[in-house]
């Protein structure tokens, strides 16, 4: 057992995946000599060589587009997009090629590619470094979208994503990279990649969170407990496909659901979750599904970001509105 940060858990997971399969390649801007701007690939080029850990030219469409060709040749490329807001130059390759090649080829071409994207806010950065583009990828058939909220999930989920035969958008909550450490047992059996996990039991309402907002939801549940309110928390982990089973089970028991994400509320994951919960749990609901998220503005300058991001108080405010409905 070792205590690791999310950054270290991801780094160890990447190393494991590269040891397990010599077809696994890493590519991205600054991932080699530097070890990535967040050091997630630290030391990997030194140990696996420049042919397997590739510093790329500064062109995101080029990174993803060449990774498509490598996958066609039988490799399992893992590409790093340096920041969430820089994924858009690669959007066409991701949506028109990565997502569609399996379908276009009637299953003859596999696209076992992982596109790692540090996402979310809270690091005091300039524009384009704090975004949450998950809904845009979850809206695209052919892609799978997952996100880890803690070091242990980071370690296991990156390995599972790399071993998976379909393209995976792998979202990493960058604010958590160097935050709390967690005990990692490398001999444990991981939960399946495309599964939601109940991370706190409760009976009054269900909080649905993923990535960076799992921590927010857990803090909110802790604070609510002090006020005599029992909140259940589910870490969704997989955003496409969604694993709704644990969500429906929970909402049928609590009768109330609040979705928390950093992404803009309008047409975000919360809208889809709300629709599905309403379709499946209609007679169990005591209140409408509520959503707490980023406002429908562009991400603000960083001195305003803590106002813009959903925090403990805004989550509790939504919980109160649900309970009082």
């Amino acid at each position: 057992m070792t205590k690791v940060t999310l950054a270290k858990g991801l780094n160890m997971g990447l190393r494991k995946a590269m040891e397990a399969d010599d077809k696994v390649l890493l590519m991205g801007e600054d991932v080699g000599t530097l070890g990535g701007v967040f050091r997630i690939t630290d030391g990997l080029q030194k140990d696996f060589g420049e042919d397997r850990v590739i510093d790329s030219p500064l062109a995101e469409s080029g990174i993803v587009g060449t990774a498509v060709g490598m996958a066609m040749r039988g490799y399992r490329p893992v590409v790093e997009i340096q920041f969430d807001g820089f994924v858009y130059p690669a959007y066409d390759q991701i949506v028109c090629q990565v997502a569609k090649l399996h379908f276009r080829s009637q299953g003859r071409i596999k696209m076992p590619m992982v596109i790692r994207i540090p996402f979310g806010g809270g690091i005091g950065a300039v524009e384009h470094h704090s975004e949450s583009p998950e809904a845009q990828f979850a809206h695209t058939p052919g892609l799978k979208v997952v996100t880890c909220s803690n070091p242990v999930d980071g370690y296991w989920m990156i390995q599972q994503a790399i071993a998976h035969d379909d393209p995976v958008i792998f979202l990493e909550p960058k604010r958590q990279y160097h935050a709390e450490k967690a005990e990692l047992d490398e001999s444990a059996t991981p939960v399946p990649l495309f599964s939601s996990q109940l991370v706190r039991h409760g009976s009054d309402a269900t909080l649905l969170a993923y990535g960076p907002t799992v921590k927010t939801a857990m803090k909110a549940a802790e604070a609510a407990a002090g006020e005599g309110k029992s909140l259940e928390v589910i870490d969704l982990r997989t955003l496409s496909p969604l694993d709704m089973g644990p969500v429906f089970d929970s909402v049928r028991r609590t009768g109330r659901a609040v979705v928390v994400h950093e992404a803009h509320v309008n047409l975000g994951l919360g809208a889809e979750l709300s629709a599905r919960i309403t379709e499946e749990c209609f007679y169990s609901l005591e209140a409408p599904v509520l959503r707490v998220g980023g406002f429908d503005t562009p991400y603000p300058a960083s001195r305003l970001e803590e106002d813009w991001l959903p925090d403990l108080d805004r989550v509790l405010d939504a919980v109160d509105r649900s309970l009082e409905f």
Binding site: G65, T66, M72, F103
Partner: protein, 386 residues
Amino acid sequence: MTPHDSGFGPDLVEVFGPKHEDGGPELIQLLTPEGERVHHPEFDMDFSAEQLRGFYRDMALVRRVDVEATALQRHGELGIWAQLLGQEAAQIGAGRAIRPNDYVFPTYREHGVAWCRGVDPLHLISLFRGVDHGGWNPKDHNFNLYTIVIGAQTLHAVGYAMGMQRDGVVGTGDPERDACVLAHFGDGASSQGDVNESFIFAASYNAPVVFFCQNNQWAISEPIERQSRIPLYQRALGFGFPGVRVDGNDVLATYAVTQAALQRARDGQGPTFIEAYTYRMGAHTTTDDPTRYRLSTDVESWKLKDPIARLEVYLKRNGYAGDDFFADIAAEADAIGHTLREGTKAMPDPKPLDIFDRVYSEITPELAAQRDGFTAYLESFEGAVH
């Protein structure tokens, strides 16, 4: 202010010389439009009579495939067709220069290259009929599926070539082992970011790839001048690898130049840019009307440079092929036409429920639920068959 007194040095004409409608003195040619064999100091090669007849057969038959598919569209059998008319030499010259281990990334107009790779023309037709998005298995032919987004495939080509480098099949000196990639695109695509990024990646990693640009002078209605103020092949130098302009209506020169560039790539010497200077004799696709944007006199002048006619003259004048040969090709073309017409009409429509299984390597539970719901819906109709 004219370019001469701008203070920024010489203008384009001073640097690149005057514009030449015929491709200019840099055009590599081995067979003139009149069917005269000419020689080139760098790219000359000897062709056997059998090889020459083979080129003729390929070009004549793919022209027939193209004409037949165009007619099928006019009869309402295809939704659309992208014609290759006029570009036969560029495609057959390049297609015949490829070796079995090489891999090809086409656009959506490479019917002639597909022919050389053994792809059944009915698989091309099924795409344009709306039956599928490409029915052949790319791995069976080392020929990727058609890519509709302009230029996107050039990056795939470079990535595939980078994979070949890692597989140790580049520059070993073993002709049975060494391989490379041929990437197709057009003059319009040369403006795309992906194409320019593919040049940068290929140069940076010295990837074994040949960029084969058919400059057919038109990107739907936009002339080449809208894409580039300099001859396209000269762009390569700015990316750090050689570029050449070949007469794309001369199958001999296209073959010779492409073969040399492919060998250079297989040998580990990196990318080459080939600009095959040609002309789109037909419309962009069957939905297009080129009379709205170009002069018929231009088309007439390019008719005189027809790739098939010039080889026919050369074959006949030198006694490499007689009347029997041409009669046999005509009969073979008629048979292909018949096969395509009958094959198209007999093509079964795809089944609505097939789409769900092809999105992922394994269907997801939520997609399976959609499929099951749709199945039940279809079955709710009396006498439903699906």
